[in-house]
Symmetry: C2
Subunit: 349 residues, 2 copies
């Protein structure tokens, strides 16, 4: 072995374990004969652990996870756990603790994929969603809870430091793409303070990237464009909440969240980056072998690219593309394992 | 005359005056021979006034507007005015000053209307968007602006008082519709304080409406449903910002913002309600007679229904429906006036 990838694996809840198993299978397959090995360490995090111990993510978990090169995560969330406990206490805690300020969510409409749009055009863009600020910071609070006088506030925090680094990352990604176009999505006519910070920052950083075309859309208008003219987008940079909303919609128009991959990236390398499908734990179909593992498999490709293994990443993406093209001709539903096996076979060639 | 409607008219910016003219033309036509007259008072508000005087909306304007039964508004916004000045200082100020806590936005896919969706199904729902709270309250602020240490915050304020009244209104609307279904859209797994207030309130008010079915979708998932299965929605109740986003997307899937009407309603009658198309001032096509006045004409129908003139409202809606069905057969673009004339002819005939 010339290199061994040291990965942490958080299979998590619901369909998480099923889709992660397929992701790891494809990872093994693509590394076969490359001289690169994989060492995985499983972290038992999620609903079961919380039920058993009351713990979501301890300091010891974080210290352990921090030792690895990258993290592969399946899904977090369970209807038997009060809303917010696992999301805030585990998933978002990971993103914040490991300073995943670039939440990278590519959207590509693969040939042959069914889309709800009648005439989508060529869809191939990437959303750079800020991952450590905005309304996700958990700075809300409530008084007089449960009384007629309750006031519940949520605070969106935006800093020059936080906005500038993610905007710069988005410009770099735009510059590396053929179309070299960046769209800021915000709502600066209403959220004037945060919006103007984002806008000014984009204007300033744009000066360093004269070859990148810049435009702007309010978040409400952006949802219109996503269904009427998604081909206009190349790189979208946006805040944490707007990014959450836009990327689910983007997934829907490009074949559904069963195909949407994401990376929670710490570009400095100070902490491990984390790769996960955009979909959730889908408790209604958990354990039935019905979940589509493609989003996780594409997340593994993002992981490989992040670790500098572009060739292997491209190998997975090509295999997925072929598998997807074949689905069009054969609409019979396949099990989670069958999809994984099919992609493994194509990876092997 | 048995009755004279006393309306304030704010034509506003861009295409506002053009579409309002058609709206008023249709209003006159539908009232012909009914014994009901209209008296309109124009308020010169918007970019021109701001450029000339620096004023957006004075106390005197508000006092004047408050005297009328209802307000018809065209569009507010101009690229030559700094972002936020007219939105916050005029449009939102009106919604807040007149306590328009129900921002009503119906979405219906009229037969024959082109939609970006390949297979939309029967789309007919209404969004009840809260209009006086949430991240729209203007309680944000920034420090160290323009420095690398800038912090810009936006605060979403949600009160039991404010949430309960809009939720109750939404339940009443759901109960009056054949499907009797209400969907709360929020993001309570992340915005836990605001989200839990909304959720608890819906649960409590639901007890008074046992015949209304209630469900819930996170805002990100709701955007997916809007493109994959919009027929599932009947009444959506949601916060101010989520409502802004969802209603633009809803407009896009039901033929575009050229058709989307809205009412900013003060159900108590303490202040006049205000009716406006969902679209903006579209400065790029202003003054060219290209704007589609249908959204404004449908907003006039909402205004009539609000004033208890259901028959006349239905008359406009039926005329619009016929006109839209005919557009399918005749795709040649028509001018703003031609669309208005065509709807007037159908209203009369
Ligand atoms: C589960 C939830 C906290 C999460 C988010 O809002 O970021 C999810 O929707 C996502 O997009 O990864
Ligand atoms: C112009 C803007 C302030 C407004 C809003 O955000 O409410 C508009 O988008 C709308 O939906 O009426």
């Amino acid at each position: 072995m010339t290199r061994t990838l040291d990965l942490a694996v958080i299979a998590g809840d619901g369909i998480g374990p099923e889709v992660v198993a397929e992701g790891l299978k494809v990872l093994d397959a693509v590394l076969e004969g490359s001289g690169i090995g994989v060492h995985t360490t499983e972290y038992a995090l999620g609903a079961e652990r919380w039920h058993a111990t009351g713990e979501t993510l301890t300091d010891a978990d974080l210290e352990g996870l921090a030792q690895h090169e990258a993290i592969l995560l399946g899904a977090i969330g369970d209807p038997r756990v009060p809303s917010g406990v696992l999301e805030r206490g585990l998933l978002l805690k990971l993103r914040f603790a490991f300073d995943h300020y670039v939440n990278l969510r590519p959207s590509r409409l693969y040939p042959g994929v069914p889309t709800p749009l009648g005439n989508p055009g060529e869809v191939d863009f990437v959303v750079v969603r800020e991952g450590t600020e905005g309304p996700y910071v958990g700075n809300g609070g409530a008084i007089r809870v449960g009384t007629p006088h309750e006031v519940a506030n949520e605070v969106s925090v935006n800093t020059a430091y936080g906005v500038e680094r993610v905007v710069r990352d988005a410009f770099e990604r735009a510059q590396a793409r053929p179309r070299k176009k960046l769209t800021l999505v915000h709502k600066h006519n209403v959220l004037v303070h945060a919006g103007h910070l984002w806008r000014r920052t984009v204007e300033q950083v744009a000066a360093e990237f004269p070859d990148v075309t810049v435009d702007y859309a309010h978040v409400d208008a952006a949802t219109i464009y996503l269904v009427t003219d998604p081909a206009r987008f190349d790189v979208i940079v946006t805040d944490n909440l707007f990014g959450d909303i836009l990327t689910d919609l983007a997934a829907a128009i490009t074949g559904g969240i069963g195909l949407a991959a994401s990376g929670n990236i710490n570009p400095t390398g100070e902490f491990p980056s984390m790769f996960e499908p955009v979909h959730g734990s889908a408790p209604d179909i958990a354990g039935q072998g019905k979940a589509d593992p493609t989003a996780t498999i594409l997340s593994v490709a993002l992981l490989l690219r992040h670790l500098g293994l572009d060739e292997q990443a491209a190998g997975i993406e090509a295999a997925v593309e072929q598998d997807i093209a074949d689905r069009a001709g054969n609409p019979a539903p396949r099990s989670t394992t069958e999809v994984g096996d099919s992609i493994v076979a194509r990876v092997r060639g």
